[in-house]
């Protein structure tokens, strides 16, 4: 067995495979299929200060090698999380990371303060890249100034590792990554979904109630991989890569391009056992290539 462990700051992950926010609920929803303690981490469904009903149905459109979603951060709010969900996960031996979302900077601050109090939540993923909400969300992630403002404000109240989740819907993602690193982000994760659209030619209507939605799945993998590579060149903090990862080979490609860890999202919908298959597959790869630790391959792309 190779050493699969990686770090973000002082936070240890037993392996570099996490489940992506919005694709694994709060972990319990996939516990029938996977032993959560075998995952590097679980990034839970996007949480907001107040409950949100999300967008109207239809919220999903299947596309070639992927899907569009327009869920719109449906969740029961942070207080419900603390009262009803936190007690059920706090004794599971994995890193449960809260995906933090706000419409305003004040929302982000209030949320981060509450999460900071939870002993068993070792990190947050600050989502400044949700394309499916009218206020806040991606708007914060598409300019250096607004991204910096959120990260700076949250950094002041949140002391544990902070991963900032970046939007790919920008001209230069490396610039945004550098900007949030400068404000104290401990890591950046990318990519969130790409803004897309589906049309039903027969009805001459948009498929999604919101007209546009976020594209995920293998369709976005090459672009996500390119962005992870560019960002890994630009920043010193660890990069968490995602976008269309369906198997161990995909995950290894992201690690080679410079990701310290990966998140698996849409693949879970096809088969919720894929994240653990990826853990095993990375180990097999390392043994086959005589590496003793996964850390040896991170960013080791041969030019």
């Amino acid at each position: 067995m190779a050493d699969l462990s990686v770090n973000i700051k002082d936070l240890l992950f037993k392996n570099p495979v996490l489940t992506a926010s919005g694709t694994c609920g709060f972990g319990q929803e996939i516990a029938d299929f996977v032993d959560l303690s075998k995952l590097g981490g679980v990034v839970m469904k996007g949480t907001t200060l107040k409950p949100r009903e999300g967008n109207d149905y239809p919220r999903m459109a299947e596309t070639p090698s992927g899907m569009l979603n327009a869920v719109g951060l449906q969740n029961k709010g942070v207080d419900n999380f603390i009262q009803n969900i936190y007690p059920t996960i706090k004794d599971v031996d994995s890193n449960f990371i809260v995906n933090v979302n706000g419409s305003t900077i004040e929302d982000y601050i209030a949320l981060a303060e509450k999460i900071n109090e939870l002993d068993k939540i070792p990190a947050i993923e600050l989502n400044i890249s949700c394309p499916n909400v009218k206020e806040g969300g991606m708007a914060f992630g598409v300019s250096c100034a607004s991204a910096q403002a959120v990260v700076k404000a949250v950094r002041a109240v949140y002391s544990k590792p902070m991963i900032v989740k970046l939007s790919p819907n920008v001209t230069n993602i490396a610039e945004i990554a550098k900007a949030v690193e400068d404000e104290g982000a401990d890591s950046v994760s990318l990519v969130n979904t790409f803004l897309g659209m589906a049309v039903n030619a027969e009805t001459r209507r948009p498929v999604l109630s919101t007209i546009t939605g976020g594209l995920s799945g293998p369709a976005i993998k090459p672009i996500a991989l390119r962005m992870v590579w560019q960002v890994a060149q630009a920043v010193k903090v660890p990069v968490v890569g995602m976008g269309g990862i369906m198997n161990a080979t995909d995950a290894i490609e992201f690690l080679l391009a410079g990701a310290t860890a990966v998140e698996v999202g849409t693949a879970i919908f096809i088969d919720p056992t894929i994240p653990l298959q990826i853990v095993d597959g990375i180990n097999d790869y390392l043994e086959r290539h005589n590496f003793s630790s996964v850390r040896e391959i991170i960013g080791s792309l041969q030019m």
Binding site: G22, T23, C24, G25, E29, I30, D32, F33, K45, E53, G54, D56, Y57, P58, R59, M60, E62, T63, P64, S65, G66, M67, N69, V71, Q74, G217, P218, T266, I268, F269, I270, D271, P272, T273
Partner: protein, 259 residues
């Protein structure tokens, strides 16, 4: 009940009419309990251009043989390719998913109304409800005679009624035009329905007006089928609920349909 991802063996694919097929799948181990209304999410690997799984209701279960069957109606590319699978093929299935219908009391008289791809759960209820046949009425609607599947294997379980839009089988019109529906609806204690939304809404409206218990099984499009993507939601009196985990069966009084 614990959900699993399993590679099942297709032991039979029988064409029932021009666009309906019965697929029988064989598990290696004992099947979990599966009740009417529950569904499975099927990977259609042969259709490489299809990315997501497709949900199908359970038609029947043979616990002894560790087999269950699906009624697959060709509606789009996914269902079409699934009907080309042959005995001996392996199919990846996530199951059992969703919640079933509320089973009737022993004194209830029930009306099961099915149309389109919604026939399967109605037939499965007729088999499992445990009522004497005179208390079970099954009303099935289709466009024309050739669109109805042969239900003779179920006919001893209840009284079957048919409608067709062209009058080629049973009474002419929609299910809601059938004489038993128009004249005897208030004599039923429970109505269960699955099929196209306009049909279910029409039934829900009449059931609500008559004050009859009514459950519908919704077929909202899904990505995961097990409650993580939140794509399949239906508006209810207590907010958005997932059709895959809170449903697919809902009591009409919990829905916000304008009926």
């Amino acid at each position: 009940m614990k959900k699993t991802v399993q590679e099942l063996l297709l032991v039979e694919n029988k064409q029932l009419n021009h666009d309906n097929f019965r697929l029988v799948l064989q598990a290696e181990n004992e099947l979990p309990p599966i009740v009417p209304g529950q569904f499975v999410n099927v990977e259609i690997k042969k259709a490489t251009e299809i990315f997501l799984r497709r949900p199908f209701s359970i038609l029947d279960v043979d616990a002894e043989k560790k087999q269950f069957s699906l009624l697959v109606k060709i509606l789009g590319r996914g269902s079409k390719v699934l009907t080309t699978y042959q005995a001996g093929d392996k199919i990846s299935v996530i199951y059992p998913l969703g919640n079933g219908f509320t089973m009737p009391e022993s004194t209830d008289k029930v009306l099961l109304i099915g149309g389109g791809s919604g026939v399967a759960p109605m037939l499965y209820i007729s088999k499992l409800c445990g009522l004497p046949p005179e208390q079970v009425h099954v009303l099935l609607g289709a466009r024309s005679k050739q669109d109805h599947v042969d239900v003779s294997a179920y006919q001893s379980l209840g009284k079957f009624h048919f409608t067709t839009e062209d009058g080629s089988l049973g009474e002419k019109g929609f299910v809601t035009n059938h004489s038993i529906y128009k004249n005897e609806l208030s004599g039923f204690d429970k109505i269960y329905t699955c099929g196209p939304n306009p049909m279910m809404k029409a039934v829900a409206k009449d059931a609500a007006a008559a004050g009859i218990f009514c459950e519908v099984s919704l077929e909202n499009t899904m990505a995961c089928g097990f409650g993580v993507c939140l794509c399949c939601v239906e508006k209810t009196t207590s907010g958005h609920k997932c059709v895959c985990t809170d449903g697919p069966v809902f009591n009409i009084k919990d829905l916000t349909w304008q009926i």
